[in-house]
Symmetry: C2
Subunit: 208 residues, 2 copies
DNA sequence: GGCAGACTGGATTACGCGTTCCAGTCTGCA
DNA sequence: TGCAGACTGGAACGCGTAATCCAGTCTGCC
């Protein structure tokens, strides 16, 4: 359940909605590349081919646009995450491969599309921070669901705590992405994910 | 080995050096609270009680000041880290307690003094990014040293990879801090650190 | 087919903030 | 005790950028 129906189309023409969408997507790309504060309204204006009055027709001000971007990124990332079946170690390994190669394809630039926003907005935009928190909760949820069915299927020991493992896995992912972004090398990301997979394996039921 | 001798005192009076130090420390605090881009030169000026010409006497421009802050934070954090003996599980648990209660005392504001800088600077200031990378390498090193001696002391299995574990632990810490900052709750941080400690324990030599 | 309101364009404004300038005072050293 | 250069103060400048304004055009609906 998203915070709202997919971006309240309160009296927006189909065309208007498309324009709005284009602005958000463009802004999301630019912000991912250059960060919130180094992406100017004018940058977005130019890249999305809209005039400033158009932009302010759809968004009250820059923070409002940024919040729309936050929701957009959360939807995109969590949506992509749901493609993976994390109810087995094999599934986790596949996911690990995907994440690492994705990061490598970006040359470790930008970090996590959501996580990097967290560092930039948490202390300056309370509203954005809460939206991010909701996004992460959803993300955590998808991992948790995988681990819980892993346990229900008897693949994970009963004593294991899938909820805590899910949260830790998300944290490891975020930290790995951050360090990889700083070092411009996927090694930290790999080490972090491998560690979590090792931990899950060590708590798997196979030996019981 | 830091990038430079502790901030080249090229022809600075003792008093001048103190002033410079005060500026950096003040800037570090403000940047930690509000982020790089929302901390203005004027904020620093006021809080540190210096005039703008003083500030520009010591630093070429804002990026130069920011870089000085990065080095300052890296020295502070890594220095503090070295107090802990991570050559035993007990040491790790003590460290875990310290980190969590520290974060709690800040009400989860600000995240990691170094890590949060990474997200803000990696894509905009190449130079700062590299300085951060060096800082993290030093930090990683202190954890690695602990794990290596843990292994040498026979507390960690020979098959374990202390270097990779150290990197993963640092990543888990960073991710935990980031998520805790966003959620304003220490749970993610605790889950991340506990997971790494569990992993290390599962690879300890006690059962061998 | 007309009109209300969604939508677009571009010029203009207002101001925050980094940076510079100049005119001084203090301080270590010969 | 003089003087070079480290150090300080505060006013002023100029640019980048968010935001506004007004003058339009398009579009769905009765």
């Amino acid at each position: 359940m998203p915070t709202q129906p997919p971006a309240a189309p309160r009296g927006l023409t189909r065309k208007g909605q498309a324009t709005r969408e284009r602005i958000v997507a463009t802004a999301a790309d630019l912000i991912f590349e250059k960060g919130v504060d180094h992406t100017t309204i004018d940058d977005v204006r130019t890249a999305a081919n809209v005039s400033s009055s158009q932009l302010y027709h759809y968004f009250d001000d820059k923070p409002a646009l940024v919040r729309a971007v936050v929701e957009h990124q959360a939807d995109t990332i969590v949506g992509g995450q749901e493609q993976f079946d994390l109810s087995s170690l094999r599934g986790f390994r596949k996911w690990r491969e995907f994440v690492v190669s994705y990061e490598r394809s970006l040359n470790c630039r930008g970090g996590c599309p959501i996580g990097s926003l967290g560092g930039q907005l948490s202390e300056t935009d309370q509203d954005a921070r809460e939206t991010l928190a909701v996004g992460f909760k959803r993300w955590e949820q998808t991992i948790r669901t995988g681990l819980r069915s892993m346990q229900e299927l008897g693949r994970l020991r009963r004593q294991a705590d899938p909820d805590k493992l899910a949260l830790a896995t998300l944290a490891a992912l975020q930290g790995g992405l951050l360090l990889s972004q700083i070092e411009r090398n996927t090694r930290p990301l790999e080490a972090a994910l491998d560690a979590m997979i090792d931990l899950i394996e060590s708590q798997s039921a196979k030996r019981a």
